[in-house]
Amino acid sequence: MSVSVRTQRSPRAAVEVAVTGILVLTVVAFLGLPLVAIVERAISQTALLDAISSSDSTQALRLSLQTTTISLILILLFGTPVAYVLARARFPGRDVIDALIDLPIVLPPAVGGLGLLMAFGRQGLLGESLDDAGIEIAFTTTAVILAQTFVASPFYIRSAKAGFDSIDRDLEAVASTLGSSRFETFRRVAIPVAMPSLLAGAVMAWARALGEFGATIMFAGSFAGRTQTVPLAIYRELETGLDVPLALSTVLIVVSFGVLFVFRLLTRKAATGWGS
């Protein structure tokens, strides 16, 4: 009987494999083609290296590297405790905060940019206080960092919270019975155990900050070397020609893919390490 079932199912299994294969190929082609097209066009241009090393490009690349690094540090510093509290503590309004933190993921960046203007702009809610304190944000690199942090932090906090959520509570209980303070338990148990999630979140947040465009151009403006990050430079240079936009896009694609790919290799290694 089992034989007859198998012969009935095998043609269906073959169809399933074929359909799945076609779907996978379609998706891979759809997602990959635009990126491959950019890289192909950029490489076939003889001026690729010149375009990357032009002052417009290097200024934008340096600014993007600097701002995303600072944004990531801010996100890790403030986001990690917040994620831990959200995963551990039970208090009224927790779900509201939880939803609020996710909000920048689904909001258009233009809404983020407008919100930042209304809050930190010179005519904004905090504008006068900031002005009195001698803090200038409008059109400065600080504004770029604020925009990046605003749009990217949810990616880290979500992932970190999921990581802390999945920790076996007994582990932390044991640590505290052995005399660890809450902070020590957080530092020596929670952080190491949740590390893969923290890293995953950090990588996603950094990549999102690197690609940030809409909130930045609204809130920080666009000025080479000061607020014109790589995405803004791509938009700006598209008006004069394709060389620099293609070159900068290629750098973004290669770097982002590299980071995501290496990260996957690392976490797989880490995961199997824990499994054994």
Partner: protein, 280 residues
């Protein structure tokens, strides 16, 4: 990470494929609609117009549709340089209205716009500062003061090009200093992609000053900004050319639209928005 069930993915893909198919059908239906019928025209007329024309062309579009009930005007506004780039990358349009000759000529050179263009309007530059003028900008000379946050359009945007030409002209004027342009540009904090973004940054009070067209000081803007006039001798008069694209899908509609812009009615609308009409 939670992955949705394979069936859910399959469903989403089917929906996407179906939507794509419908969109394709829709497109093939819409393209067969251009037959001039007497004086009135019909079908879609897609107009790419400089950002400074936003309000005036919105009204011209409505007036054109009123005169041609079967026609439908679709307007796409942006910096002229951005629209020219979009046209060069294959964007479909019937009419291109640029804020300067530079971008129109580049579009002609790229083969995407008909070389026969008409100047349909003029415009003048004006300096705007936020209402209240907290930093005390009174004269054009004050633009060179230390610490002024100045916003201009980038130099590929027509108004950005005109603004820099004005600064150069002023530097050569005895009433200004020879390094006036350099000092003013040292205050530049952002180079915006079109004139409306310059106006918005000043309207929000983020910037202390910006240079826009006088037609950009619309009724929406007047309560939020103050203007500093630029004398005629130093002012740059922007000339706006309009032309058909090289392969308009609705040629009759496009010609009728251009004729309407140049007509007394079109010119009156442009004038009411602060443009300088070119037809008597």
């Amino acid at each position: 990470m939670i992955l949705p069930a394979p069936r859910a993915i399959l469903f989403i893909l089917c929906v996407l494929i179906a939507a794509g198919g419908l969109a394709a059908c829709d497109e093939s239906d819409g393209s067969s609609s251009s037959s001039p019928n007497g004086s009135a025209v019909d079908g879609d007329v897609v107009v790419f117009a400089a950002a400074s024309l936003t309000d005036a062309f919105a009204e011209i579009g409505e007036a054109f549709e009123a005169a041609n009930p079967d026609a439908n005007v679709t307007l796409n506004f942006g910096g002229s340089q951005e629209l020219r780039t979009q046209l060069g990358q294959g964007a479909r349009a019937d009419v291109f209205a640029s804020a300067n000759a530079t971008q129109m000529n580049l579009a002609v050179d790229a083969g995407v716009v008909d070389p026969a263009s008409d100047i349909f309007a003029g415009n003048r530059l004006v300096v705007i500062v936020p209402a209240g003028n907290a930093v005390g900008l009174e004269t054009l000379l004050d633009l060179a003061n230390d610490g002024i946050l100045l916003v201009l359009a980038n130099e590929d945007v027509p108004v950005g090009e005109y603004a820099r030409a004005f600064l150069e002209k002023a530097s050569n004027d005895p009433a200004f200093r020879p390094d006036y342009a350099d000092d003013v540009l040292a205050n530049l904090v952002s180079e915006e992609p079109n004139v409306r973004q310059v106006a918005a940054k000043v309207q929000l009070g983020e910037a202390d000053a910006g240079i826009v067209y006088s037609s950009d000081v619309t009724s929406d803007l007047t309560e939020d900004v103050e203007t500093i006039e630029i004398p005629d001798a130093l002012n740059e008069v922007a000339m706006y050319p309009i032309a058909l694209t090289s392969e308009p899908e609705n040629e009759a509609g496009a010609r009728a639209f251009v004729a309407f812009v140049l007509s007394a009615e079109g010119q009156a609308i442009l004038e009411s928005y602060g443009f300088l009409p070119v037809q008597p």
